[in-house]
Each structure stands twice: as structure tokens, then as C-alpha cells.
Symmetry: C2
């Protein structure tokens, strides 16, 4: 049936109209399920649609209606399972609402981010979900996006002052509270010398998590040694390399709050290489609850951020914004949840 479609040409409303002797307009009404059309003609038209294998041309419709049926999703790093899960969640929710996802990866390059934003805007997305590249700044993003589409900022804040007339929505994780909870958990287990391990100072999420750690330590009246903050790239490999820095400290810690799961898994590796057993001789926590966390050796105590669910939430937020373009901008902070596993043991001497 549909294989009879002429090779090059696409079937249009005109073809259907001609095929069952009604006007283009009527066919259009049928497609949109209007109650205006007569039952019998509707049946005739629907039969013809099937017969010719018609597919709707949303681009043409969007042009005429000045509407959009797509959302741009721009990610700094799709290879990171956290963002991959997030993307899957976004796509799921958008799809359910009849929208399609325009994907763009920036690979942590602010330059590419500019290019990708520009290119995606030409396709007229109804909105944008942006997880910015590391050194992306508000000014540049504003220059290219302007008021051409509403923007939802995810996961990271933008560098530079945010011009007040750009009121963007935000969806952030509750980094500070998460790190505070993790630290409190270690303290409750009896630890007193706790380090903060991994991440970069200039990442907003890292600063927030560190702040949560400090908050918990202060509240418990525990001392924080300056060499208990160890920076490294948020990757397993770099974390493993930096492990020794923990034991060069004047007061060697018995536990570490890690910037994220990748770092924590790397630290585990580094501990193993030093002959220490994570979860026995040294306690640690992660952040993100990626799939591998539960299956580590030992399983990792971490903060669950539910990236898939966050993706759905992000999609919802943009869709709501589309329906109320003038509403005040929203700053959403998604809760995180402590997942206790075996890596957060009591200190060895206890």
C-alpha cells in the first residue's frame, strides 16, 4: 500500500483532496480532528490518507501557525552517564507531549556552545534546555539566544553577571544540602577528620558541594585542615592519581566526601593501589548515584539525583514556560537523597 508512493514526490494535502474530491481545507480539518466535518466525508478522507500513505508535514504547519514542535537540548558532555540519563528523561517527556528533541553536544567548549546554539536556533525550537559548558558565560549566551526562545538552565550556573532583563528559568541540584547530608552521615558514623575530595574550584556545583561540607563540619564543631581539600578533574583517572595527596596531609583523614561518583570510584581505585580497603580502612561518599555506584567494590554510599527524573522535570518546566511565556522566571532546586551503602564505614579504630 504505502509502497505505491511515487518515489521522489511526497504526498500532500492537495493530493488527498484531489483523491477524494474535497478541498484542501477540509482535509486539513480532518487531520486536526475538527468536529466541523461530516462523519461521512471524514471517513472518506481518512481512507484516502491511508491509501496514499500520507505523512503530516509539521514544518509547513509550524511555519503557517508560527508555532514550534521542538525543544533544543544542549549538553556539555553526553558521554557522561549522568547527562545521558538526563537526556533520555527529557526525550521521554517531550515525546509524550508531542515535541521532538533537537540534540546538541558542546564537549565542554564554550565556543562550540555558541555555534551549536546558533545552529539550533535556526530550526526555530520552542525552547532550550542548556547544561552549559565549563567556561560558558551569561553575556555570550544572551547575545545569541536573546529573546528568540525561552531558556532553561540546567545543572550549572553561567559565568559572568546575568543581565537582569534575561530572566531564564533554572533547574539545579541541591548540591549544598546533598554534601551536607553526606558529611553529616560520616560524622554520625564517628568520623572526625573528613576531607573534601575532587572537582574544580571554578565549577559552581563543586563550590556548592564544598560549602555543604563546610557547613556540616562547622555545625559539628569539627576542625577543617586546609590540606583536606584536594582538587582534581571530575574523572576516575585523575582522582585515582590524586589519592596520595590525602595521605600527605599533616593530619591524615579517615574519610572523604567526594565531589561525585566518578571521583569516588577513582579514589577507591587509588586506595586499593595503596593497599587500603575502601569501606573498611577508609570511608567515602559520592554524588550522583550513577549505575556503577551500586555495583562498586564495595557499593558506594552516595547522593541520588535521579537524572532520568530530572530530565522529565526539565522538559515539564520548558513546556510550562511555553504555555505561559510571561510568567515570572522560576528557580527550581531539585532535592537529592542520601543512599547509604557499604563504602561509608565507621573509622577503623572505633
Amino acid at each position: 500500500m504505502s509502497s505505491h508512493t511515487p518515489i521522489g514526490r511526497k504526498v500532500t494535502l492537495n493530493d488527498i483532496a484531489a483523491g477524494c474530491d474535497v478541498s484542501r481545507a477540509t482535509v486539513s480539518l480532518v487531520l486536526r480532528g475538527s468536529p466541523l466535518v461530516h462523519k461521512l466525508t471524514r471517513a472518506r478522507v481518512e481512507e484516502e490518507l491511508r491509501r496514499q500513505g500520507y505523512v503530516y508535514n509539521r514544518a509547513a504547519a509550524n511555519l503557517r501557525r508560527r508555532s514550534s514542535s521542538s525543544i533544543a537540548l544542549i549538553l556539555n558532555d553526553l558521554a557522561n552517564p549522568f547527562f545521558a540519563e538526563f537526556a533520555a528523561g527529557v526525550d521521554e517527556a517531550l515525546g509524550a507531549a508531542g515535541f521532538v528533541t533537537l540534540l546538541g553536544c558542546t564537549g565542554e567548549s564554550a565556543e562550540r556552545e555558541q555555534a551549536v546554539l546558533g545552529s539550533l536556533l535556526e530550526h526555530g525550537p520552542g525552547g532550550i534546555i542548556l547544561s552549559p559548558a565549563e567556561h560558558s558565560n551569561a553575556h555570550d549566551v544572551l547575545a545569541v539566544v536573546g529573546k528568540r526562545a525561552p531558556l532553561l538552565l540546567f545543572n550549572r550556573e553561567l559565568g559572568g553577571a546575568l543581565p537582569e532583563f534575561a530572566h531564564w528559568d533554572q533547574l539545579m541540584l541541591d548540591n549544598q544540602r546533598g554534601a551536607r547530608l553526606a558529611t553529616e552521615h560520616l560524622i554520625a558514623r564517628g568520623h572526625q577528620r573528613i576531607a573534601f575530595f575532587g572537582g574544580h574550584q571554578d565549577s559552581s556545583s563543586c563550590r556548592q558541594r564544598h560549602a555543604g561540607y563546610v557547613e556540616a563540619m562547622r555545625a559539628a564543631k569539627l576542625r577543617i585542615e586546609p590540606d583536606w581539600r584536594i582538587e582534581c578533574a571530575p574523572t576516575r583517572l585523575d582522582a585515582a592519581h590524586r589519592t596520595s595527596a590525602l595521605f600527605d596531609a599533616t593530619h591524615v583523614p579517615t574519610a572523604a566526601v567526594c565531589y561525585n561518583d566518578a571521583v569516588a570510584l577513582g579514589l577507591m581505585l587509588g586506595l586499593h593501589q595503596r593497599g587500603l580497603r575502601p569501606g573498611r580502612d577508609f570511608a567515602l561518599t559520592g554524588f550522583d548515584d550513577i549505575a556503577e555506584a551500586a555495583l562498586g567494590m564495595p557499593p558506594l554510599t552516595t547522593m541520588s539525583t535521579a537524572p532520568h527524573e530530572r530530565g522529565r522535570q526539565a522538559a515539564q518546566l520548558v513546556l510550562q514556560r511555553l504555555q505561559q511565556p510571561q510568567a515570572a522566571s522560576r528557580q527550581t532546586i531539585a532535592p537529592v537523597q542520601l543512599v547509604v551503602r557499604e563504602s561509608s564505614c565507621p573509622p577503623p579504630n572505633a
Copy 2:
């Protein structure tokens, strides 16, 4: 500058034309860098474009030109790092060629696959890259896609007979050769009792890998016990659970060729739980070379499939197809490479 854009209305060619007193057609020529326009007018027009903050409407252009600037990428499981990397590669190459990626996730559901295909087709993609869901079949895919866009099948074959007039391109991994190489490597290390662990019979990639294993064993004149083939879902968790099946065999193997890395890592976990040290007491290999493989305990010997590179390759193949719609369909088989690490030790008694 661009903030002066009137809020609701978008800037069009007409606005620019009016703004610098030329015709719409001339502005269009400028946009496309035609050599026809005079240097001076070009400069005037470009200035006006900048001044009004014009952004190109690719949908309108595509409508008129009957062209497309997007490719649909449909994946069975984006949360899997293999596919996430693949997607990043696709997006990178498409972006470089001025195309945009329309993302669609099916979550291994053939039903959703149908829906997603239908929905994405309405946006008129120039081509489709499809990594099919587990039980997807050729007939259904053909029914919805027809000749409306060229399709590139990635990673898996479709169930059911492939109607001969649907000549789709394919990009597959060299599964059989990969598994054969892995098996030969273990044999060279001195193993004689080697199991094939993980995956489902009804997955084409699993059948191919198993065939490669059998080929290598036969060539080395090694016996294959029937209970050396253990099935499980391609996840770490299920693999860990099924570990015991290896040791229930009448002749206990000393090594295993695993369906993929996830399974291999799960098997490592299961071995640990039985008090066996993978890479010391038992040898094993994976498939895919995902990021965690290099960092496992011990690091995993596996087959590198370079998913990012495969993504770029897939993009290239579709783009080539767009330029030569009538060329004969291509079956590409991507090479895989053995990466030897510590998990593939010699047998303990050797």
C-alpha cells in the same frame, strides 16, 4: 543591539529588505553568499542583518527547497554508555556538516519505536539512523518509514525477513571476528576450558559473537561443553547473579568470553563474591571497551569498538546516501580491536 528585537515578532527577510531598501530576493542572495550581489549592497545588507538581529529560518527554506537539514537518530537505550558515546559522535559529525540531530529514544520497546519513527518522520528528516529495539521487525519498520527517508541500520539486525525492495544501509560491528580474536587470545594464554558468558540468544549480536567463539574453539580443536553457554540479560546485575552457573558445569571452565563489558564486570563481581580473584584465579574478556573497562579491578581485556568513531562513521554514511540516493545499498562492517589488559591471565595451574 539584538535586545531591541520586538518581543513577539521575528525578524524576516522582508524586514531586512525594507530596512535597507533592496528586494527580498537580494537579501536572500546575500545570505547564501551568492557572487551576484554587488560588494556595496552586500555590506549594507549584512550590516542591517546584524542590526536587526536576524536569524535564518531553516524550516521555511527547507519547505521551499524541498530539502532537509536534519537527521533522525533513534536509539534503543541512551542510558547505555556505548550508545551515549555513539550519539555524541553522530551529533559531532552531523553538526560539522550543518545538520541537526533529531533524537528519539525507544527504551527497547518496538511499540515506542513505531511511534517515535512516525513522529520524527513528520519533521521531515533527510535520513534516519536506527539502532533497533530488541524485538523490532523489518516489516513494521518498513510500513512506517517506506521510502520517505533513507535508513541506516546500526548495531543490530531487524527481526523478520527483509523485503527485498527495502534496500537499507547497514553499519554493524564485526562481532564474530571480535569474539574469535578474544577466544584465540585466551587459547594462546593456555586456556582449554573456555565458556561463553551472557547475552540473549535472540539478539543478533550475541549470536554472532557466540559464532566467533565457536569458530576459534573448533579451529583449536577444543571441546565445547553445552553447559558452557550461559545466558543472562546484558547487565552487570544479572551477570553477577548468574556467575554460579559457570561452576555448576560438569567440567568447570578456567576462562570465559563475555558477551560485553557490562556482563564481564558483573561476572568479576560475582567471582569476587565467591572468593575468586578475576585476572588471577579466573580469566575473562569483555566486548565494547567502555570507559570503566580500563579502570576495573583488574583492568579488563576487551574488544574496542570505538563508539564515538562509529557515530561519526554512521553520520558520514547517511550523508553520503543523501548525496547519492540511488547508489546501491551498503553493508559496512566496522573492525574491532583486541585490547589486552590484566583480566586475561593464564590458567592458574600453568
